[in-house]
């Protein structure tokens, strides 16, 4: 069976095109070197970075492929030679890729120690998970400051929130799973919140983008664990949205990049990663539209998820099954049994 798969993938390098991308864009016109970037980040955030890179290296053209974090992990594990650079917000999956030997070392990078692991995995953003609210739909209710407030609000006003709250479907989204497990690890409040959301008939989403769209349309009153960076960008344009970082502990994720150990264009890949980290450091919001790293190691206000071996804990098969079961019990089951 293994050989058959190998054979098929050898015969059909184009089998790859069977993969459905959320987005696929080519930058640059050169045919000399092509760099394939596999990413979970929306193209709009990366376009300026890639364009800036190509200006410094016009002989390189970049193919930017976007897909969800879980899908990305599968696609890359299946064929590490098809991609040069991998970018994802699911730190745990990225960590495991690195621990499992899929990443190539990049030495002599001038990057903070806490934002890299094993010379192979590099963090380049700090992005908190936020509560986002549609102020119009929220009406005169007091804005919640913490998860506790949220629970109290939903309990007190079930009608207003019924089927109008949203959060990640952790079964579909790697980032959603990371946020949920880190929340659950930090406090029991998380499970109470999930139960209350379950009873309110929460809607489940694959991605932050869709949650924000539905918030804007007023279909959702409130969404929990939305990527703060995406929401902030939208909130600046539209009046209705308010982004709140829960005051007890906003879980903060770092987007990470690695270079495939089987990269076909290793030099271009290394050049790109160096350029990316350099742009991050300059903090020029036009060229680097993502939130740069914040040295939050000593800052309790922003609880950054550390790049450390413990990240593989919740990827363990047994732990994952147990977590999913508990999550479904809290969120999905109750929803189904709900009788208005």
């Amino acid at each position: 069976m293994r050989y058959l798969v190998l054979l098929v993938s050898l015969l059909l390098p184009s089998a790859l095109t069977a993969q459905e991308w959320e987005d696929r864009q080519v930058f640059g016109t050169s045919e000399a070197v092509s760099l394939r970037i596999l990413s979970s980040t929306d193209t709009s955030f990366f376009a300026p970075i890639i364009e800036d890179f190509i200006e410094t290296a016009p002989h390189i053209s970049v193919e930017y492929l976007v897909t969800g974090t879980v899908d990305l992990d599968h696609a890359f594990r299946a064929s590490p030679a098809d991609f040069d650079v991998v970018i994802s917000s699911a730190m745990d999956l990225q960590f495991k890729l690195t621990n499992d030997g899929f990443a190539a070392p990049l030495v002599d990078l001038d990057h903070p120690e806490w934002a890299q692991w094993h010379d192979r995995l590099f963090a380049f953003t700090s992005e908190p998970a936020a509560i986002v609210i549609n102020r119009k739909a929220f009406g005169d209710l007091p804005l919640p400051r913490s998860r506790q407030d949220l629970i109290a609000l939903m309990r007190a006003h079930p009608d207003r929130f019924q089927e109008r709250v949203g959060t990640y479907d952790v079964r579909q989204s790697g980032l959603g799973y990371l946020f949920a497990t880190q929340d659950a690890r930090a406090s029991e409040t998380f499970w109470r919140l999930m139960e209350v959301m379950g009873r309110t008939g929460a809607r489940l989403y694959c991605c932050s983008g869709q949650m924000i769209d539905d918030l804007r349309k007023g279909e959702l009153v409130m969404a929990y664990n939305v990527l703060g960076s995406y929401a902030q960008a939208q909130a600046e344009q539209s009046e209705e949205l308010t982004v709140i970082l829960p005051s007890e502990f906003p879980t903060t994720m770092m987007r990470t990049v690695l270079m495939s150990k089987d990269a076909r264009s290793p030099q271009a890949a290394e050049g790109f990663i160096r350029h990316l980290l350099m742009l991050q450091e300059t903090g020029d919001a036009l060229k680097f539209p993502l939130p740069p790293l914040t040295q939050s190691q000593n800052d309790d206000l922003l609880r950054t998820i550390n790049l450390e071996p413990a990240l593989i804990t919740y990827l363990d098969k047994i732990k994952k099954q147990a977590f999913m079961r508990e999550w479904e019990n809290a969120l999905v089951q109750e929803y189904r049994n709900y009788t208005p």
Partner: protein, 430 residues
Amino acid sequence: MAVILFVVVRALATQVAQQGQDNILNASLSSILDTAVVRDGSVTLDFPYSSFSMLSTNADDRVYYAIYEDGTLLSGYEKLPAPDVLKADHRHFDTASFSGEKIRIASGARLLLASDGPRTVSVSVAQTQDALSETLNAISRNVALLGVGFFILSSGLALWAASTTSSQLHRLTRSVTRRGPQDLSPVTKAVPTEMGPLVGSLNMFMQRLDHTLQQSEDFIAEAAHRIRTPLATVRSHAEATLQRVEHAENRAALQSMVRAIDESSRAAGQLLDHAMVTFRTENLNMEEVDLVEVLQDLVQRMTPVAEMKDIALSLQTEGPAVLAGDAILLQNALRNLIDNALKYAPSETDVVIRTAKDDGISISILDDGAGFDLAEMHTLSGRFVRGKDTGNKIGSGLGLTIAQEVTTAHGGTMTLRNRPEGGACVTLSF
């Protein structure tokens, strides 16, 4: 001579560093293994985040693990080289190679009692050795420099005063060689002034090793503590549920759950004690301690436990037995010994604690149990070593280790023997 010093110190350093890594791997392994339970007929492990986070190193070492039930992989990395046969409650350490890198791997197993018979859960935790070899290389470099310095110095000195100095160097080398892996206190022997800087740097490097060692002890203490607190909560929930449950089968399951929790929290407690002992023995808090008072207090506290087994616990003394020592440590050591006597003696027997004063102070704890197995007597005080024939008695193999380490730290000796009339007798003499 310089070469001897280099070899000795390097060997010592390797031993200490390896021990440090093993300690941490073992703590991680225990924290995973301790969470193994049978739920709804299948084995599950809800191990804490700290299990792996304690394996973070400066060199970002990679971490692998595997969990097996009766030899079949439940989760983790397949193909991780692990020993086939593992005795329950024993630890196995090995150096192997995995995906092209050298790894240190710790394995252990536990027997779980499910309603349909026993199941063996085994866990392996492994780590690459980058941080370890970084430390060792740094140490080697220092030691090599030290060795060269030593060589130049000693040949220089030899030219000056061959006879006197070489005997002093001999003494220093000997005192370094004689040290055990635990003893990292600075060399304080008077040395000729020319050798001052040399001994100074030797001391500094010992201090660094000591620091590394201490860090690993801290890790264990932290890990044990993190396991214990939630366990206590779970236990009280289980107890409360037990009050309410009537179905015999469920009661039995709950009772075995409470037992399993007790077992884990005891193991965690002893790990914690052991870490505390190791730490304190290096910084003894000396004061006048009356061992009789300590024993009276212990007897009073442990009598309820003894009564549960219908054991008569008695203390025979001949007046106060005062000694300069660390009260907390001594109490801990004695408690472990009395604990063992109560544990391994059958019900309706006597456990006697006797103090005597001849040359020094001696304390014996005597019981009417089966006594020690002669063949394994001299190994029992090793870390995590348990007797072959412990039956279903809960234990972690650290009790005698703690007693031994405390006694040695106070300049005393611990002897195990069997009484002619049967039963075990443990004597501490100071």
